[in-house]
């Protein structure tokens, strides 16, 4: 039994990390009243930027490459998220439709650029990925050390720590209060002197930056290269995590961990006595079915921020 946990828990954290980063971004955007269906595309840009930078500068930067690549991915997606923010906030475009367009645009742009830079539709594998490490000291603790601190990606720890930071910022700081106010009742917020547009812009850019990190982490720990099918649904999974987690950063983290768990079950499940006879398809669809059930109120009702999806027009009632 312990052997199973030794393989399941690190796998869970491994699959969950990119989802956690992206879902945290989704929470910020949606809390400010902008539905971000474009998370998938923003992850694509993150993955593309991270892999491209990694391949081009690995020789010059050595072991620092993955971390600088992650930074590049973050900035690239933050900039790209303006393509969502400007139409959705300033031009009053339908946010869902804009998000769908962002997904198409990101994929087209990413593959187009790969063809420009590397002359083919799929990159080589990166030479400087993020490596697993044992946490010194903690790994020697019996049982727990092997479960949580052996052969782990540091990005998984960062993701979990960041969830707590994100929760603190959103619920315990004036800035977080402003984001939530703008997402619940923009007119009331406006009346109180909160700049609705600026706040929403900041929230969307934060979501872009976090989704960029998510895409970058995915590319540098899981896929290790970039092609048209590198990011296939992780962004939508992150959206599911946002809703499953009831628009709360810690909830989103929990949901992402759960999805990571379901994913690792579908990978290592065949070696678990209890699950070896369960067709893999059940494990594959579990995250999605559970999200639907969560939405339907079987696992506690999820209610979206009130103004989510509604463009704010100054002076309208």
């Amino acid at each position: 039994m312990l052997d199973i946990l030794y393989s399941l828990i690190p796998q869970t954290l491994f699959f969950a990390a990119p989802l956690i980063f992206t879902a945290l971004g989704g929470v910020y955007s949606e809390r400010s009243g902008v539905i971000n269906i474009g998370l998938e595309g923003l992850m694509v840009i993150g993955a593309f930027a991270a892999v491209t930078f990694n391949l081009l500068y690995a020789d010059a930067l050595g072991a620092m490459t993955p971390w600088i690549s992650l930074l590049v991915a973050m900035v690239a997606s933050a900039v790209f998220s303006l393509l969502l923010a400007i139409p959705a906030i300033t031009f009053r475009a339908d946010q869902t439709v804009t998000g769908v367009a962002i997904n198409m645009l990101a994929l087209g742009f990413g593959v187009f650029m790969i063809k420009q830079i590397f002359n083919k539709g799929q990159t080589e594998f990166i030479s400087e990925p993020i490596y697993t490490k044992d946490v010194p000291g903690l790994v020697d603790i019996p049982v727990i050390g092997d479960m949580f601190f052996n052969n782990m990606y540091i990005t998984s720890y960062i993701a979990i720590a960041l969830s707590f930071v994100a929760w603190y910022v959103l619920f315990k700081t004036p800035f977080g209060l402003r984001i939530r106010a703008v997402g619940e009742h923009p007119m009331a917020a406006d009346t109180n002197g909160i700049k609705v547009y600026t706040t929403r812009y900041i929230a969307v850019i934060i979501s872009g930056a976090l989704a960029g990190i998510g895409g970058g982490v995915f590319a540098m720990t899981i896929s290790l290269n970039f092609s048209v099918s590198t990011i296939a649904g992780q962004g939508f999974m992150a959206i599911a995590a946002v809703i499953f987690g009831k628009w709360n950063p810690l909830g989103a983290m929990g949901a992402a961990l759960f999805f990571g768990f379901a994913q690792s079950l579908s990978v290592v499940g065949s070696s678990i006595p209890l699950l070896e006879n369960v067709p893999q398809v059940y494990l594959l669809i579990a995250p999605y079915v559970l999200t639907i059930l969560a939405l339907a109120g079987f696992i506690g009702r999820s209610v979206a921020p009130k103004a989510s999806g509604v463009p704010y027009i100054k002076g309208s009632r």
Partner: protein, 347 residues
């Protein structure tokens, strides 16, 4: 000068032009010749009967997914789940097409019906959840897409075949292909476009000529007013999603009984459903507009494959299409700019 119906025509046209111009600028920036690029695009479709037929085969499912999304839009719903509905429709049509023996006159309608029913059922779930529990249909539909993707892969691998990645060909009695058309063009041009055009008329009749359509549109405009007027809002939401899903399911049948004649496992989506969003928007959610926009997208997608002869990566067309959607979605700003221009002229 600019009435609102006129804007409905002008904004899509301006968006297409802006999208193509943006594509040309991108080509210039990366050192390609946009004229050669677009010429290759054009020739990629019109140079041979084969590719013209391929284009028609591409347009056919676009019309149907475009109708699916347009129909839902008209009734105030966003059916982003067309993608999954296409997949379940596809596999249902192939299932009936391979498992049953019947004369064409029964077999083909039955296979089409199965596809429509499967799509309708897949859309029924988000519909009923929205109607009864107020759950947003977009999220449920996205989840249903992934369930459809994994479920159809499972059915193909483990139920319909013995661990194979593709099913058998559908029987000739259920096929939309036709020896005469195949002989004429050398392609798999099939009769699905007749089904698609017929469904265009069906949508128009439902929306414009029936009480049901009136109610559906009323619910789309204002749920509370419709409720006050005695319409059953929840029921109308479910009906609207079911009809929308039926269109999308039929789009799957076009692939299953026509273009491919088989169903195969997918690692990612076909994008027919997502592209349908673009088709519907550009077509102004009007059934006849959908024909035009589906034709444009079908033309762009097939022609793009030939752009590599001019050295241009065909992803440029994905970028152009995405930009067109962004421009249409930002119609408010185009409208504003046009009105500013008009004001300027008057001075």
């Amino acid at each position: 000068m600019f009435s609102s119906t006129k804007f409905n025509f002008i904004i899509p046209i301006i968006s297409v032009v802006l999208g193509l111009v943006a594509g040309a600028i991108i080509m210039l920036i990366f050192g390609y010749n946009p004229i050669l690029g677009y010429q290759a695009l054009w020739n990629g479709v019109f140079d041979s009967g084969f590719f013209m037929s391929e284009t028609v085969n591409r347009i056919t499912p676009y019309i149907l997914t475009g109708l699916a999304i347009a129909f839902a839009f008209r009734t105030g719903l966003f059916n982003i789940g067309a993608e999954g509905q296409v997949l379940v429709g596809w596999i249902a049509s192939v299932w009936v097409g391979t498992a049953i023996d019947a004369p064409t006159i029964l077999h083909l309608p039955l296979a089409l019906l199965a596809a429509g029913a499967a799509g309708a059922f897949w859309a029924f779930i988000p519909g009923i959840l929205k109607a009864k529990l107020g759950v947003h249909e977009v999220i449920v539909s996205i989840m249903m897409n992934y369930v459809a993707l994994h479920l159809t892969n499972y059915l193909i691998r483990d139920v319909m075949t013995d661990n194979s990645e593709s099913t058998e060909q559908v029987k000739q009695t259920a096929s939309l292909t036709n020896d005469f058309l195949i002989g004429l063009t050398g392609s798999r041009l099939h009769l699905g476009f007749i089904v698609a055009l017929f469904m265009v008329i069906v949508m128009w009749v439902i929306l414009e000529r029936t009480k049901l359509g009136y109610e559906l549109k009323a619910v789309g405009y204002n749920q509370h007013a419709s409720n006050y007027a005695g319409m059953k809002v929840g029921r109308n939401i479910v009906i609207s999603m079911v009809i929308s899903g039926l269109f999308a399911g039929l789009a799957g049948a076009m692939q299953g009984l026509g273009s491919f004649g088989t169903a195969f496992t997918n690692t990612a989506f076909s994008n027919l459903g997502f592209d349908g969003i673009a088709v519907a928007l550009l077509g102004g959610n009007n059934p006849f507009g959908v024909i035009l926009s589906a034709s444009l997208f079908g033309f762009l997608k097939v022609g793009a494959l030939n752009m590599s002869t001019a050295g241009v990566p065909n992803e440029i067309i994905e970028i152009v299409i995405a930009l067109i959607i962004l421009f249409v979605a930002s119609g408010f700003i185009i409208r504003w700019a046009l009105l500013q221009l008009k004001k300027g002229e008057r001075k």
